[in-house]
């Protein structure tokens, strides 16, 4: 930084000294700051802080040797970057991440489905070990129910193999060896048991003992224990662990951030019924492939995804002439559901001020009748059911959609909204808010929106316009944002080169900081603005996490404190400091 720059910087109000300023004057100052470039020496840091989950030691040098411009171009073309083999290896045990929903439903069934399998209504998984495990789970559930109902542990109506008490399965010495000794010794004692006995022993262990073993178990054993705890939980855990591992280890960092951005834009709540099994495929096959593609493709992929159709209830929506379900008086007449139609306009495309009416909401909902799911509870797939479709004429945002249409009615709506100027502005502003500043300057948003419209919603081009803008590289953007909880946790682990063996405890930390992953109930998703995260509960949680991590006390993560020059105490202070909360 030369003298002139220093002088100029000192003259910018609100930068050298921070007076007690009002919101309004702060804003005026901000606008000028977006015209003021950051020194060249800070550009790599700016790129790493906004386009990655935080710099690791050595990252800045690596970008320097590649060249900043080339590095950004690579990040915009993630398929050109070889993925980190460490990540791929760590993702391997999380086998649900590569499964179809149907396979997950069978291999990681809910308690209800386990019952149906036992009753012969649904086939068991093909894998004999897994089948055995599930039969044992069912027996254990039945046994427990028997106890609850009759206080009779030896319920004679029990079918199939049950878990025996631990004392019948193992000798005293064996039990003692599982409870005492170093973690390695305890794991070894367990693994020394005959493989066909291990599941029974896990089932018979008191919960505390099982959790104790879990904390020290290697990945395959951890899996076995998770299964014994309840197979349906595994799917959610894999998702959260996968998200953390990718954020921390992926070489395709921008792609990971965009995946988070767009999942959140098209948010789905993991725990709404069938969505438990549908979110994995939604993120992997619907969101991820399109984050740098055409917005229209991304939008259609979400509109046709069973996850979204289920979450926003469209799969049940029906036109006035739809055949009615048979059954007693309590069976509802089927009809229109506005949920998806409204959120499509408000949250996915035009934005709440984008110029639509209640009438448009209903008309859009009519267009999407018949967009439904085959067997949602079995992992389902998209299908168009013409019998549910409202074939009357509709008018959407002034465009007439003639009577007699079918699935194309919904596709026409997607065409109208995907290329609408309000959508271009709404999407551009939201991206700029995530990547540039909480209140992004209007001229930047306008230029991004123009690119959006000119290129038919090419998201890579919109990103390029933003990354080539002076605003992105300005003092207005520089360190102006507070990291989200996911960004804070991932960047802390990256900055100390933590070795993550088990990511679930990190996902719990993210939740404690205020952002439970895949668990935002509302379709709005989490805020992209700093303010959301700046409060006392979040601050205390951040400081505690920082100290825990630097002290090598977060389970599942190894931090080599010898690597850092300072004693671990000050690493914790650094990670919990105000500076580290910003990006």
């Amino acid at each position: 930084m030369d003298k002139r720059t220093l002088l100029a910087l000192a003259c910018v109000p609100g930068l050298a000294a921070i007076p007690a300023i009002t919101a309004a004057s702060k804003n005026a100052g901000d606008d000028r700051l977006f015209l003021k470039p950051i020194p060249n020496s800070q550009r790599i840091e700016q790129a790493l802080s906004r386009l990655t989950y935080g710099a690791r030691p050595g990252d800045a040098d690596a970008v320097r040797s590649t060249g900043l411009r080339k590095w950004i171009e690579q990040q915009l073309n993630p398929e050109s970057i070889a993925e980190n083999p460490v990540l791929l290896q760590k993702l391997q045990t999380l086998d649900t991440l590569t499964m179809s929903a149907g396979q997950m439903v069978r291999d990681y069934p809910t308690p209800q489905l386990v019952k149906q399998m036992v009753a012969g209504q649904v086939p068991f998984p093909a894998d004999p070990d897994r089948r055995m495990m599930i039969e044992k789970l069912a027996a254990r559930a039945e046994r427990k129910q028997g106890q609850d109902q009759q206080g009779d542990p030896a319920n004679p109506s029990l079918k199939g193999p049950a878990f025996q008490p631990l004392a019948e399965l193992l000798s005293r010495d064996q039990i003692r060896s599982l409870r005492t000794g170093t973690p390695e010794q305890r794991v070894a004692a367990f693994q020394a048991l005959p493989p066909d006995q291990q599941d029974d022993v896990l089932g018979a262990m008191p919960p505390g003992m099982r959790q104790g073993l879990f904390a020290i178990a290697p990945p395959e054993l951890r899996r076995k224990i998770e299964m014994a705890n309840g197979p349906a939980q595994v799917v959610a855990r894999d998702l959260m662990e996968g998200k953390l591992l990718r954020a921390i280890y992926s070489n395709r960092q921008l792609s990971e951030i965009l995946d988070d951005f767009w999942f959140n834009h098209f948010n789905i709540y993991l725990e709404k019924g069938a969505d438990r099994y549908l979110v994995t495929g939604y993120e992997r096959d619907v969101i991820r492939p399109h984050v740098l593609g055409k917005f229209r493709d991304l939008l259609e992929a979400t509109a046709k995804s069973p996850a979204m159709l289920f979450y926003l209830d469209n799969w049940q929506s029906a036109g006035p002439n739809a055949p009615q379900p048979r059954g007693g008086a309590k069976k509802a007449a089927r009809g229109l559901n506005e949920n998806y139609g409204r959120e499509l306009l408000e949250l996915h495309t035009l934005g709440v001020d984008g110029g639509y009416t209640q009438k448009d909401v209903s008309e859009v909902a009519r267009c999407f009748t018949g967009w439904t799911i085959n067997q949602p509870q079995r992992g389902g797939s998209f299908t168009f059911n013409p019998r549910l479709h409202d074939t009357g004429q509709k008018v959407v945002l002034g465009v007439t959609i003639p009577a007699g249409g079918g699935m194309e009615d919904g596709e026409k709506v997607l065409d109208i909204v995907a290329h609408h100027p309000s959508t271009a502005r709404f999407i551009s502003r939201k991206l700029a808010q995530r990547f540039v500043a909480d209140d992004p300057p209007a001229p930047l948003v306008d230029r991004m929106a123009q690119t959006f419209l000119k290129t038919g919603g090419d998201l890579r081009q919109v990103m390029r316009t933003m990354l080539e803008s002076k605003e992105f590289w300005s003092e207005g953007a520089w360190r102006s944002k507070v990291k989200s909880p996911l960004e804070m946790v991932a960047s802390a682990v990256r900055s100390v080169n933590g070795d993550v063996d088990f990511a679930f405890p990190l996902a719990n930390q993210v939740a404690q900081l205020g952002e439970p992953l895949y668990r935002k109930v509302e379709p709005t998703g989490y805020s992209n603005s700093s303010e959301e995260w700046m409060n006392s509960a979040g601050l205390v949680a951040r400081m505690n996490f920082a100290l825990q991590l630097a002290g090598d006390k977060v389970p599942g993560v190894k931090v080599d404190t010898a690597q850092t020059a300072r004693p671990d105490e000050s690493a914790g202070i650094a990670l919990g400091s105000p500076d580290f909360q910003k990006k």
């Binding site: 209140d439 509960a537 100290l547």
Partner: protein
């Protein structure tokens, strides 16, 4: 869609000097001030997702209600064995959802009032906008930076407790955000930096931060942490045999009760409960089953436990509930309801003139519905909140709390 501003809090909080005074002294100061006159407290509860008010406060005297909801209406009050599956009559016209049975004694003892056909006059059916408007207290105005509860905090005289305004949860609610100090906490027990040495270092660092918003948030946080230190590790057992339901909402109310009873200077508290957006399968095979019934069970039990737990202290406390809008008067095609307009609010407390359903009933005949589909609005939510702020909290400056609106009082609160 401008983002909200970050608040630069006034530094009246400097009293506690963020740890400058010894803890016993701080405690003594509040303890001395607490008893006379005892601080009035307002607890606000937000039901996020738009609760279906028509199935919560059931207009069982209205024929159109049953016509509009052939499969999800709550049956008329019945005697005998079917009681758990029908509305609990309140006044011959309105009834409580059967899952709210624990609240009936409060109504009978006139500690619980209902306001019906109430809500925000803004026509939006967007969850986000409607919540934002209700929490800012300025329907239709997106530029409002702060929340109505923050503005409603009475002008501080002398010392201010760092925990006078508390939001339960991992983030600060919009209602409590603003220029007056307000904190968020998820659990009282977890609200501390576990290493005292490091805590001191953090405190100094944040005090010197160049970011004014972080600096202010940290100052408030450390003051509050130090305030709560002594009650942190004491086990809390609710009084009066109160049993809070499991789950986040029950936990929130239990901790609000604990804070109030610890006399640490709480004046405003906020908690929320989500999951009310029932577009499909709102009601199960029977009225006492299904998504709405399950949620109301949790909700009703938590409120009644809070009331039990607070005992005599309820004389100083008012609890008010709200939800962003109501739901369509007719059921939709999936045994659920879509986004609507007016709703109901509950007001509970020692100073409340309960045992009545307030508000003018607009009717549910087609021509009486708002935009031909929703319960019409006859009472502005600010009338309810305004009366509580003025008559319960004793803050007469409502102009600042609800700018551009003059609340009309319903007579919900006994004037002392």
């Amino acid at each position: 869609m401008t983002s909200r501003r970050i608040f630069l809090r006034n530094s009246a909080l400097a009293m506690v000097g963020a740890g400058a005074a010894p803890l016993w002294l701080k405690r003594a100061l509040y303890a001395a001030e607490a008893p006379s006159p005892r601080q009035k407290i307002l607890v606000a509860i937000f039901q996020r997702g738009a609760a279906d008010g028509l199935n919560v406060i059931v207009p069982h005297g209205e024929k159109a209600y049953y016509d509009l909801r052939p499969t999800i209406a709550i049956p008329r009050p019945a005697g005998g064995g079917k009681r758990e599956d029908s509305a609990i009559d309140l006044d011959g016209f309105f009834g409580l959802h059967p899952a709210l049975a624990p609240l009936k004694p409060l109504f009978d003892r006139q500690h619980l009032a209902i306001v019906d056909a109430v809500g925000s006059p803004d026509p939006t059916r967007s969850h986000f906008d409607a919540q934002d408007y209700m929490e800012s207290g300025t329907p239709g105005l997106k530029a409002t930076h702060d929340g109505w509860m923050n503005r409603a905090l009475p002008k501080a005289e002398g010392r201010i407790s760092p925990v006078r305004a508390v939001s339960l949860g991992a983030t600060l609610s919009r209602s409590l955000a603003g220029s007056n100090p307000a904190i968020s906490l998820e659990t009282i027990a977890g609200f501390q930096v576990r290493d005292t040495q490091a805590a001191k270092q953090f405190q100094d660092m944040y005090a010197q931060s160049k970011d004014p918003a972080l600096r202010a948030a940290a100052r408030e946080t450390f003051a509050a942490v130090s305030m709560l230190q002594t009650i942190q590790n004491q086990p809390y057992s609710p009084a009066g045999g109160a049993e809070y339901p499991r789950g986040r909402f029950g936990d929130s109310l239990r901790q609000i009760a604990q804070l109030i009873k610890a006399n640490v200077g709480v004046e405003m508290a906020f908690a929320d409960i989500g999951g009310w957006d029932h577009h499909a399968n709102e009601v199960g095979q029977r009225a006492s089953e299904g998504q709405l019934a399950n949620l109301l069970t949790q909700y009703g039990h938590a409120l009644s436990a809070f009331w039990c737990d607070m005992g005599d202290r309820m004389a100083d406390v008012a609890v008010v509930t709200m939800s962003e809008f109501g739901r369509t008067a007719h059921e939709n095609g999936n045994r659920g309801t879509d986004h609507g307009h007016a709703n109901c609010m509950f007001v509970m407390g020692g100073s409340v003139r309960g045992g009545r359903v307030y508000g003018k009933w607009p009717g549910l005949e087609r021509e009486q519905l708002y935009e031909g589909r929703d319960l019409a609005l006859t009472t502005d939510f600010r009338d309810v909140l305004g009366e509580l702020v003025a008559a319960h909290l004793g803050n007469p400056t409502l102009k600042g709390v609800f700018p551009g609106y003059a609340p009309k009082f319903l007579g919900l609160v006994h004037h002392t």
